[in-house]
Amino acid sequence: MAKGSGADTIIAKGVEMNGELRVDGNIFIDGDVKGTVISQGDLNIGSEAKIEANLQAKNAIVAGVLRGTVEIAEKLEILETAEITGDITAGVLSVAGGATINGTIRMGVGISE
């Protein structure tokens, strides 16, 4: 993957993606995504993103609007602008004040187990 960059795959604002996307490295999403996103690395959902998808990644930061299941093997960081509707599984969870979560949360049972 691209060396020296935070995200190897970027889906910018204004892009609509449908379907399943699998990436080996890190991914940053600021567009509209419907389907499934699976990353072997870190997933970063920007504040402009609108996601209706099931997400799997090693670590994740969510700042946008997300509807779907989230399975994070290690750390999930939910920022204050995030609005999540769906079930969350994460090894470690951090939630900023102001974030909205509607769904069940399971912790300490990451997807690698």
């Binding site: 993957m1 691209a2 060396k3 020296g4 960059s5 935070g6 190897d8 795959t9 970027i10 889906i11 910018a12 604002k13 204004g14 892009v15 609509e16 993606m17 449908n18 379907g19 399943e20 996307l21 699998r22 990436v23 600021d30 567009g31 389907g35």
Partner: protein
């Protein structure tokens, strides 16, 4: 055995001296070979096929980026027929200012002969769009384009600038590797946000994909040749090209 394919433009008097210097250096290095001049009505594919049949194992493009492109297009069908790329491609840029020479670590003029003589052969990928190969990049501006990958698709609204890169110095923070078996896909849109314009850049890497649009699409290959079509089918040809490169190559 070396086979040198000279571009037609080198027949111009103003290149006489430079070509002479190059030929002298090739002779000094003991790697002079058969010289064939490419011409408008001479099919490069047939020329290369004949050279390979006559025992050439290194086909050298002498001219500019366009010459290398023509030689690549000619060499590839011969590689496909033999099932493996036994033929090595060399490049002697006669004039400065090209894109491909610096990327490959090859200086213009007689010093390219030394690079050729050192024979540092790299297996590198080629990009291909609608069956046309390219080494560096394919670029175009498309209206409401749709990118179809194996299991997903992406849609842009309005105009977007696209670059599908195989070999380049770098694009922003992304380094491009022409030996990784994938093409780097960049789509950029400039949008007004308050009083300034912001660039929205999408990047991904893939081995093959399809681009369609609601208008005909024209793509420029290696800053040289254009291709217009209703749809553009991209794929990487992994390790397809065996190329003599310089030690200062950018990958």
């Amino acid at each position: 055995m070396y086979s040198y394919l000279y571009d037609e433009f080198l027949e111009d008097k103003r290149y006489e001296r430079e070509v002479g210097v190059i030929e002298t250096r090739l002779t000094d290095l003991g790697i002079m070979g058969k010289v064939t001049r490419l011409a408008l009505f001479r099919d490069p594919v047939a020329v290369v096929k004949n050279e390979i049949a006559d025992g050439a194992r290194t086909v050298v493009a002498v001219g500019d980026d366009g010459t290398l492109r023509r030689v690549l297009e000619a060499v590839l069908p011969n590689c496909r027929q033999s099932g493996e790329s036994q033929v090595v491609v060399g490049f002697i840029p006669v004039v400065k200012g090209g894109v491909l020479g610096p990327l490959l670590g090859i200086d213009a003029g007689s010093s390219a002969c030394d690079t050729l003589s050192a024979r540092l052969v790299q297996e590198i990928d080629l990009g291909e769009v609608n069956g046309r190969p390219y080494l560096h990049a394919a670029a175009g501006t498309f209206h409401s384009p749709k990118l179809s990958l194996q299991q997903s698709e992406m849609i842009w609204s309005g105009w977007a600038d696209f670059q599908i890169i195989n070999l380049a110095l770098s694009v922003g923070k992304f380094e491009i590797d022409p030996t990784d078996g994938a093409l780097d896909f960049f789509a950029s849109q400039l949008k007004r946000r308050w009083f300034r314009k912001e660039e929205y850049l999408t990047h991904l890497r893939a081995g093959s994909f399809l681009l369609t649009s609601d208008k005909k699409m024209t793509v420029i290959l290696d800053s040289e040749e254009s291709l217009t079509a209703d749809q553009l089918i991209f794929q990487v040809l992994p390790g397809r090209l065996r190329l003599v490169t310089g030690k200062d190559r950018r990958f």
